[in-house]
Amino acid sequence: MDNSISSGNLSVQCISQRYGRRKVLKDISFTAKPGACIGIIGINGGGKSTLLSILAGVRAPRNGSISFCGKNMLKKSASRKLAGYLPQGDPLMEELTVLDNLKLWYGGKVQEDLPVLQELQLTELLHMRVKNMSGGMKRRLAIACAVANDQPLLILDEPTSSLDLHQKKIIQDYIRNYTARGGIVVLSTHDIMEIRLCTQLYYLENGTTVPVDVDEAVKKLQEGVA
């Protein structure tokens, strides 16, 4: 079965955002090809989540443009169709079961043998209530919900923060497979293992992005400035 993801180039041009007088993002630009994994690192409160939410179409930028597969991603219809988004907080209804939450994001129908459920090891947990799940299980479920429409672009805001190594591995394996099939992943992270997954890395400082390589990124993490 061909499970490749039909993707295209991602182009982010001159994205700016401000909260009141404070400029959070200043002319952020980068491009990515199918199969890329873009890592955004930086200190807390530096604007990583804001940038990712703009890429996901949750927030509108003050200036700039985003195109993906030739579509204007600032249009909600395009971002809905092309981008899956995982915010820092898990967008899950805690009182409901895994299956209910999947139904919510998949629009009512969920096949229990979906590949994503197998990849994220959720098939055994379908009837479990979310409030009874561990943090890692919730995060895996949230990723499965984020890719409900087989989107070729996956935006993950600190996908493995505060998870144990086993849970991290499951999620990182999923990210690796996703990019290997041609999808693009944009993620923010403070994790060295995730940094090593990335094909492009940007350090976000004072609202601007600086391209860095893996070693520089790891060094910044160790220095506590990312």
């Binding site: 949750v58 809905r80 915010p87 967008p91 209804m93 805690e94 939450n101 919510l104 994001w105 629009g107």
Partner: protein, 402 residues
């Protein structure tokens, strides 16, 4: 478009499921609160009974030894229901009565003179001695009122008989005072025995045009729906639900869908609850809610209350929101005539009452349960609900994470 519709339907279904899952939690909370309230009320009632705070007054009736006619007449009065509800009257000797009052066993004593019946018949104003204990009891106060009312009634009756006697004299008619008294007594007894036809047709009290049982029935329904369930529904507005919604917004599910889903859950649950309470109460009283229009009007009321719940929880969610909700609702209840009738409230607050939702809901509930709902009230209730829902939805947007 089809996908968005499908997702919206799935979302509404999940909110419903979540709402129904929350139900058992607050039904248990309500049951516990009700048990505590019942315990407190029961304790206070038994304390009051033991302390004789609201006990019936113990009254001694003293007649002259061997005066059987007076004793017979008095006996007819003390067996009247309304007298028995206020006091326990026992025949005693003068000595027993005085000692009883001194010992605190008797609250009051009435000393009737020998042949007082004949004195009344002949128009002689023989004074009646009444001794009242210095103890302050609610029952004693009621007894005093009853006594004063009885005296007024007696004097009015006498005045009527003597005026008729005078008129008869003026017209040289042959009629005796005794005949007039007999006729008057018969007429009075006839009316008194059939008093339901005379009284209780137009009730106007501090509660408005309802009695205390009706007033507190409505209070019960509104407290259970607004306070207990209103707090419980805060779970539909928790931070987690809002995070889900923010993410779902990019998939085409907006504030409108979120509001619609929540309002529908809250309205239906409250409507079913109100109908249930009214039905349970109806089995013990003459209340009936089986008319389809009554049930429909209850749905309108539930919609309006859902508006208030939505409004407050949308602006402030989480535990802080629940406390804030409780404060606002209690304030609305107390100042809106939901606990104490508006007539008992301070003048400044009384002027605000007509503008508070609780007052409108009480008025509407009265019309639904014990009358017929006026179209104007239905429109007002629905309009109020709609305004609060819109204001709440604005709150949902305003309080989203920036």
């Amino acid at each position: 478009m089809k996908g968005i519709l499908r997702r919206r339907t799935a979302y509404c279904r999940m909110i419903w499921k979540k709402g129904l899952l929350l139900l058992p939690r607050f039904v248990i909370a309500i049951a516990c609160t009700a048990a505590v309230l019942f315990g407190v009320v029961y304790w206070y009632a038994s304390y009051s009974q033991k302390g004789q705070v609201i006990a019936k007054a113990q009254v001694a009736l003293v007649t002259a030894p061997g005066d059987l006619v007076t004793r017979l007449g008095a006996n007819a009065i003390i067996t009247i229901d309304s007298v028995r509800q206020v006091c326990d009257i026992q025949f005693m000797s003068e000595k027993e009565a005085e000692e009883g009052i001194r010992a605190g066993k008797i609250d009051a004593a009435i000393y009737l003179t020998r042949d007082i019946y004949n004195d009344i018949n002949s128009g002689e104003n023989t004074p009646v001695r009444v001794q009242v204990s210095s103890r302050s009891l609610a029952g004693l106060e009621l007894f005093k009122e009853l006594l004063a009312d009885g005296m007024t009634m007696l004097q009015t009756g006498e005045a009527m008989v003597y005026s008729l006697d005078a008129v008869a004299d003026d017209h040289a008619a042959k009629v005796s005072v005794s005949d007039l008294m007999d006729r008057f007594a018969l007429q009075y007894v006839d009316l008194a025995m059939d008093r339901n036809k005379t009284w209780n047709r137009e009730l106007l009290s501090a509660y408005g045009n309802i009695d205390s049982v009706q007033f507190y029935t409505m209070t019960l329904i509104l407290v259970v729906t607004c306070v207990f369930f209103g707090m419980g529904f805060g779970g539909l507005y928790d931070r987690q639900s809002r995070t889900v919604e923010q993410c779902l917004r990019r998939t085409g599910i907006g504030t409108g869908t979120g509001t619609l889903a929540r309002i529908s859950v809250i309205t239906v649950v409250l409507w079913a609850l109100m109908a249930l309470i009214a039905w349970i109460l109806g089995t013990y009283t003459e209340l009936s809610v089986f008319h389809p229009m009554q049930l429909l009007y209850l749905a309108a009321l539930a919609f309006s209350i859902a508006g208030l719940i939505h409004l407050i929880h949308s602006w402030m969610s989480g535990a802080f929101g629940t406390i804030f909700y409780l404060l606002i609702v209690v304030l609305l209840f107390v100042s809106g005539g939901g606990v104490f009738p508006p007539a008992y409230l301070p003048p400044l607050i009384r002027r605000m009452v007509p503008f508070l939702p609780i007052h409108l809901w009480q008025q509407f509930l009265t019309e639904i349960l014990w009358g017929s709902a006026a179209r104007k009230t239905v429109v007002q209730v629905l309009f109020l609900g709609a305004v609060m829902i819109v204001a709440g939805s604005i709150g949902m947007r305003c309080t989203e994470d920036k």
